[in-house]
């Protein structure tokens, strides 16, 4: 009887240990900042996951112009735009919480809503 009690208690403790360890590992290896938001003319027009197994297209239409945004398995990017310099398109996929995709002519911002990885800078000087 006492042996059984010891086994049960040991099992419970081992289970707690495994759960805690699993939690730590998930926290450590999980990719943060997946939630994104898209702002057009200062208004949030989309919030949600920044990746999608099937491509999702969002047209950000503002008084200044139109940006076609694609969310796919690799992330989010501006696929096309009617702005003059196309810097937003050239930026490619959104890579980090500290470096949003910005289209100045069309007043568009695509950014992660989280603070991103712990080692990431708080801001970028450019």
């Amino acid at each position: 009887m006492r042996n059984k009690t010891v086994k049960i208690l040991s099992g419970v403790c081992a289970l707690l240990f495994a759960v805690a360890l699993g939690f730590v590992l998930i926290q450590y290896f999980s990719v943060s900042g997946e939630e994104i938001e898209i702002l057009s003319d200062g208004k949030v027009i989309y919030t949600g996951k920044g990746v999608s197994a099937e491509p999702v297209y969002i047209d950000a239409v503002s008084a200044h112009g139109v940006n076609r945004i694609r969310i796919d398995a690799n992330g989010v990017l501006v696929e096309s735009a009617d702005c003059k310099n196309l810097e937003c398109v050239h930026m490619g996929y959104l890579k980090s919480a500290y470096m949003p995709i910005v289209c100045l002519p069309n007043n568009l911002v695509i950014r992660y809503t989280g603070s991103g990885e712990a080692s990431a800078p708080d801001a970028i000087s450019r």
Binding site: R2, C13, F17, L39, G92, K95, L104, D122, R126
Partner: protein, 358 residues
């Protein structure tokens, strides 16, 4: 009693419980590690805001009870600065000055013009707010970039000289043909005013980025320095990170605004007041870390105009700021004062790091 058992049941239970407790503590630590701020305020309220103004994207983050209100006022303040200082708005104070050659400016504009002229003198003309006739003829403010003929540059060059701006108590007068562009200092100054506004609201911790001009107020809420990345001039990566508090980190280079001519030559937006051409020397980018945004803004432009050797000599001869220069050959020059909080990042733009000392 079983003689073969060298650990009894109680010991097993205690060990297992200890393991579980340790694991629980580790998990707890992970969960709350970001909220552990022994040196900071207890979980201060964070507010954020963004704004398109001064032809760029701006973001604000402030911590404290009045942060929401402060950020809203900061946005209004920035818009007010733009209304006064925009060189492309004919109704702004600078627009009127350039049009009429004479202005009785507001107190803020007069202060900014005085500051710009003093920085021009301080940098021996490498920062020159009177460069506008050349900036315009290269098309950097009109959006119609072109390579002007040499005769046109020669004709405009004499007007690009801040020493010919006449300040008479409360008035500013320009010689005929001159015009001012405060774009090389306006964002830094606007940032200084925003941080002063924040301070007045009792905010002790804030971070603003005015188009990549990063300015900080105090430490982060957890008591640590703000970590500011420095963007590579060649791609979407960072070349280094510096830790700062109550400092600005401002970077200049020819990579943000430029155009490619028909012959394939790339021309950046920073025009040399000495030859009237976009700066093309051994520097790829200049970062200045200073206590004032206006100073950092003006110096980053001036040092870029100087080139690496003169910029380093200038830093050695002057105090109150630190520099990080990236040369086109991949050498990253870092002044000694920022070394303790400097961290190089893996980047294809940087081949070696060189500490510079006074």
């Amino acid at each position: 009693m079983n003689e073969k058992r060298f650990i009894n049941r109680t010991t097993i239970i205690r060990l297992a419980a200890a393991f579980a407790a340790v694991a629980g503590l580790i998990a707890f630590g992970f969960l709350y590690k970001d909220k552990w701020n022994p040196n900071g305020d207890a979980d201060p309220q964070k507010s954020e805001g963004t704004l398109f103004a001064m032809d760029t994207y701006m973001s604000f983050a402030a911590y404290g009870e009045n942060a929401d209100e402060a950020i809203e006022e900061a946005k209004q303040l920035i818009e007010e600065c733009e209304r006064k200082w925009s060189v492309t708005d004919a109704q702004s104070e600078i627009g009127k000055l350039n049009e009429e050659g004479f202005l009785e400016p507001s107190e803020e504009t007069l202060e900014l013009i005085k500051l710009a002229l003093s920085y021009s003198k301080y940098t021996n003309g490498c920062f020159d707010p009177a460069i506008y006739p050349l900036v315009r003829t290269w098309g950097f403010t009109t959006g119609e970039n072109r390579v002007p003929p040499q005769s046109e540059i020669d004709a405009l060059l004499p007007y690009a000289d801040a020493r010919n701006v006449i300040l008479d108590r409360d008035t500013v007068r320009l010689q005929e043909g001159m015009s001012l562009d405060l774009g090389g200092i306006a964002k830094g100054r606007a940032g200084d005013e925003v941080l002063a506004l924040f301070k007045g609201k009792g905010i002790k911790s804030a971070l603003i980025s005015l188009g990549g001009n990063v300015q900080t107020l105090g430490h982060k809420p957890d008591g640590n320095d703000w970590k500011i990345g420095i963007h590579s001039p060649y791609g979407n990566e960072i070349i280094a990170v510096v830790g700062v508090s109550d400092r600005c980190v401002i970077t200049s280079g020819a990579y943000e605004r430029y155009f490619t001519a028909e012959d394939g030559t790339v021309y950046g937006h920073i025009i040399s007041p000495f030859d009237g051409y976009p700066v093309s020397n051994d520097l790829a980018s200049v970062t200045v870390i200073a206590g004032s945004g206006a100073l950092g803004d003006a110096l980053s432009t001036a040092l870029f105009v100087m080139g690496a050797e003169r910029a380093i000599e200038f830093w050695k001869a002057n105090e109150g700021f630190e520099i990080i220069l990236l040369s086109k050959d991949g050498t990253l020059y870092v002044s000694e004062g920022i070394i303790p909080s400097f961290e190089a990042r893996t980047s294809s733009a940087v081949k070696s790091v060189c500490e510079i000392k006074r």
